[in-house]
């Protein structure tokens, strides 16, 4: 009873809440880091150094007037933010924050579940999220959101092909689709896949940026061109859901990249006994440090780079990343066959 119901429920509760808190603080982190990059201070008013800013933001968004445009398709307009938020959250079901540990005599795995098609699950759930954006743009019945959602769908589909192609080469390396299996494979093969599959790593990172609509690929919400893009007509909590979904997706991407390429919860050099003292730091902390690096990288990129244009983005996806992904897959396959 405890092992089958209570502990999983507790874990879901913790992961869900931790994610939501992380997402709101992600917003603060982004504002702070960008402010430092731009020689500003960032939020400073709410709480010491602005650390209570996310709470103020949340309260503000909740008490704001929630407007549905008269000509909008009411049901779809309401469903769209939910459709983009939910997939971003349920992906966390298969992300392993650590191996199985013993707490009060109970063996507790530090992940909600480990299914044998974990990676496939992530890819398919993540692609449901794009419907939220498409439907939001369409149901707003307004020109800017429509243009933005067309951009978004084209962008997400083309980058998804590149990323999925590339993930196959990781699966080939690990021989498993399970997220836990992939981490264990990295342990057993004595290598983080970022070193074994550098090309795949770069493609997944770029594709991940594009799929989360982050700069320099933030075309669907380009505020300078499309005045906010697909969420132009949204306000209040419904807008907040899109906002949170974007940041949740960023966390998803960095968690997935960490798991697949940086050995997930493993400390650096997990197989060398010289570095075994690193095991004293709990596994989930290693996981968070690594994910944080990517989140920081995403923010850094946003502060530095201009934005791609729509056609250039498509060109990069179809003419560079997809061929590279396929080539990488073929080379991985050949090497795998030759080595066995």
């Amino acid at each position: 009873m405890v092992d089958t119901v209570v502990i999983p429920l507790l874990k879901i509760l913790i992961v869900l809440n931790a994610t939501l808190v992380a997402v709101t603080y992600m917003v603060l982190l982004e504002r702070k880091v960008i402010a430092w990059a731009q020689s500003r201070l960032g939020p400073m008013r709410v709480g010491p150094y602005g650390i209570l800013q996310p709470i103020a933001d949340a309260v503000k968004l909740m008490i704001k007037e929630d407007i549905t445009p008269v000509r909008a398709d009411r049901w779809v307009f309401t469903a769209a933010p939910i459709m983009s938020m939910v997939p971003a959250l349920i992906v966390f079901a298969v992300i392993p924050f650590g191996p199985t540990v013993t707490i009060f005599g109970h063996p507790v795995p530090l992940y909600i579940t480990d299914i044998n098609v974990g990676l496939l699950y992530i890819v398919s759930v993540a692609s449901v999220g794009v419907y939220g954006i498409i439907l939001a743009g369409w149901s707003s019945n307004s020109k800017y959101p429509l243009l933005a959602s067309l951009r978004a769908s084209a962008q997400l589909i083309s980058y998804e092909i590149a990323v999925t192609m590339t993930l196959v080469s990781v699966i080939l390396m690990a021989g498993s689709l399970s997220m836990v299996g992939i981490v264990n494979a990295q342990y057993n093969q004595h290598v983080w896949y970022v070193f074994a599959q550098p090309v795949a790593f770069v493609i997944v990172l770029i594709g991940g940026l594009a799929e989360t609509n982050r700069a320099p690929f933030d075309l669907p919400e380009a505020e300078q061109e499309l005045t906010g893009g697909f969420h132009t007509e949204y306000s209040g909590m419904r807008f907040a859901l899109f906002f949170l979904a974007e940041y949740a997706n960023m966390i998803v991407v960095s968690s997935v990249v960490t798991t697949l390429f940086l050995g997930g919860w493993l400390p650096p050099f997990p197989n060398l006994s010289v570095f075994h003292f690193l095991y004293y730091i709990p596994s989930w902390i290693w996981f968070f440090i690594k994910s944080f690096l990517f989140l920081y990288l995403f923010i850094w990129i946003r502060a530095t780079l201009p934005r791609y244009r729509y056609d250039q983005l498509m060109r990069l996806g179809w003419k560079v990343l997809i061929p590279l992904g396929i080539a990488n897959l073929i080379v991985t396959g050949i090497v795998k066959v030759l080595m066995s």
Partner: protein
């Protein structure tokens, strides 16, 4: 089988990247701009007509409100026009100070341009950096005349007051700071691959065509036409200054960007020369108590940060206000080129192009 329609997209007057209240009606085929219609007039305050009912000194105040990011340049242009009409001699010191103020103003205006232009293309850090340096210039102006945006910093025949002591040293200090900061902007943009892809080959216009459209200033020089009023018809103390007029070759957005970046450096060069060689002497010439030019008309142009800023003034010789007052605003003339420039480009390029012709709506509409 499929019926396709053009999408009419209304951009502005309230839009984040139309730099004020410009309205552009775009006709789109997908994301491609088939045609565009530029609608202006949302900031019309009737400055030209107002000026005909103000006396000659009061008009200086109104000129502040045209190109409000380069108010000192407007003041200089107007005062010199009236001086030309009255054949007044301006002391050398006043002319030097005018040169320094004009060039400081050019840097401030270009700071605003580089910031917003980069922001339109998505690089938001440059915006904050450029505003940080613009702040230093505003401080210098504040010290000189007390105001930070609309200066009223000129008088017919000279200056309202002499420079505060130690001001010239601060200007030189600023020049040293700015020198490194321009490099900082360029580091972020000039060789950035995304920046190159977004600006190279966008809005190409040949030299003769640019002349035909009446473009002026950096937008014209980007197409390789070496027209600069400071060189061709020197005013203030420009005839005593050493400086180059940077020109582009391709006439695209990138070249217009490069031209303005080089103008930062040339402006600093002029400021250094003028500040170091600042002569002593009076700051106001022999101006009659009542300014009342003899009947006649004149046109005088100066090189504002945006291009050729000209004033055409008619005096009837009887009243203490101009009979006719007309401004040739560079932003207005450059805006004429927008329709030609955006055709065939994408929506994202429209904002890049609006940025690259560097308009201020206060000056377009007056």
């Amino acid at each position: 089988m499929f019926d396709t329609n053009e999408l009419v997209l209304n951009m502005g007057p309230q839009h984040p990247s139309t730099h004020g209240v410009l309205r552009v009606v775009l006709r789109l085929d997908g994301e491609k701009v088939v045609d565009c219609d530029v609608v202006i007039g949302y900031l019309h305050r009737g400055i030209e007509k107002l000026s005909e009912n103000r006396n000659w000194t009061q008009i200086i105040l109104l000129t502040d409100r045209m190109d409000y990011v380069a108010a000192a340049t407007n003041n200089v242009g107007y005062c010199e026009t009236v001086e030309k009409l009255m054949q007044l001699e301006v002391p050398r010191r006043a002319r030097y100070v005018r040169t320094i103020l004009c060039e400081l103003q050019r840097i401030a205006s270009h700071c605003l341009w580089v910031g917003t232009h980069a922001m339109d293309i998505g690089a938001m850090t440059v915006f904050l950096y450029a505003f940080r340096e613009r702040e230093l210039i505003l401080d210098l102006f504040e010290e000189f005349c007390g105001a930070r945006l609309t200066y009223n910093s000129m008088r017919i025949g000279g200056l309202p007051q002499d420079l505060p002591s130690g001001w010239d040293k601060k200007v030189l200090q600023f020049c040293d700071i700015m020198d490194t900061k321009v490099g900082e902007y360029e580091e972020l943009l000039t060789h950035n691959r995304i920046w190159l892809e977004r600006t190279k080959g966008i809005g190409v216009i040949s030299g003769p065509e640019a002349v035909g459209l009446g473009l002026c200033g950096p937008a014209l020089r980007g197409s390789g036409v070496p027209r600069d009023v400071r060189k061709d018809e020197p005013y203030a103390a420009y005839d005593e200054m050493q400086f180059d007029v940077p020109i582009g070759t391709a006439g695209d957005t990138y070249d217009r960007y490069l031209v303005r970046m080089e103008e930062f450096r040339q402006s600093l060069r002029i400021i250094r020369q003028a500040t170091e060689g600042l002569p002593e002497g009076p700051i106001v010439g022999k101006v009659p108590r009542l300014i009342k030019p003899a009947a006649g008309e004149t046109y005088h142009a100066i090189e504002s940060p945006k291009g050729e800023l000209g004033y055409f003034i008619v005096s009837d010789g009887k009243s203490t206000n101009p009979y006719r007052f007309r401004v040739r605003p560079p932003s207005f003339c450059n805006l004429q080129g927008l329709r030609r420039l955006v055709r065939g480009h994408l929506v994202a390029d429209v904002v890049a192009l609006i940025g690259s012709i560097d308009i201020v709506l206060g000056e377009v509409d007056r």
